[in-house]
């Protein structure tokens, strides 16, 4: 009932352990599964899971811990990722394609190309990134549901 105030039809939260590369990617797989079961179009599912994958990797590579929340509303999907960790000293610089502070270990695993944040930007319809150096990072992004089939049952739940 309280969710109806904000028109949030689903809210799921996932915990991400920093440095745990073994399961890296598993949360975006879970998000994808939820969206697929809910009946969203493959375009929305793909864009959301690419952005979620990159966001999840950022927490694993750079933070000590974090939480990723998925909100489903009638008009958009929203993902919020909050982490505790080293943070980003210069957000503008970090947004540039190819810029990376990744360690050699991260590179060896096939990450740290400096493409993560721009991949998120390119696959979403709005993105906010704020960070306190030495404390952590807050990332939010939206995927618009404009043009989506509104008969998706989840969007009508509790109508």
């Amino acid at each position: 009932m309280s969710g109806a105030e904000n028109n949030i039809h689903l809210h799921e939260m996932f915990h991400i352990a920093g440095g745990n590369f073994t399961n890296a990617g598993s949360i975006s797989s879970q998000v994808k599964k939820i969206l697929k079961e809910a009946g969203f179009s493959s375009r929305v599912i793909r864009r959301t899971s690419i952005a979620t994958f990159e966001a999840e990797m950022n927490v694993i590579c750079y933070a000590s811990r974090g939480n990723l929340s998925l909100f489903i509303t009638p008009d958009f999907l929203k993902i919020v990722v909050e982490d505790e960790g080293i943070g980003i000293p210069d957000v503008d610089l970090a947004m540039q394609e190819g810029y990376s502070t990744a360690s050699e270990r991260i590179h060896e695993l096939g990450f740290g190309a400096g493409m993560g944040l721009s991949n998120i930007k390119n696959n979403t319809d709005g993105m906010i990134l704020t960070s306190k150096f030495g404390q952590g990072t807050h990332l939010e992004f939206l995927i618009s549901l404009e043009g989506e089939d509104k008969s998706v049952p989840l969007l009508n739940a509790g109508g």
Binding site: K32, I50, F53, E97, F111, G114, M115
Partner: protein, 123 residues
Amino acid sequence: MKLREIRDLLDAELITGDANLDKEIKYVNAADLISDVLAYSTGPGALLITGIIHPQVIYAANTMDLGAILFVRGKRPNEATLQLAIENQVPLLTTRYIMFETCGRLYQLGMRACIEKVKNVRG
């Protein structure tokens, strides 16, 4: 090109049991960085040619709805990665050809890239 033809052309081995080898593959991406896999493996059902054998490549394949992954340079993932691929129904193949040869042989037979060129020069 069918997955079976790709396997035969590259003398590759299917390592995920009973995949559908009649699956049609139209586009290919070759990358050794996960972000590049996510950025350039567009078009569902693409083939990824890579040397990455960590489980993340399977999650990335799932994210991008890849048709199959072909490991080059004789690389073989461990059992956990293999199981993850089977669970996610991502066919895995491995070839002893290096990446350049693998791409060249496929190109020669008409296979094309998911994306030919990026928009901007990257640092």
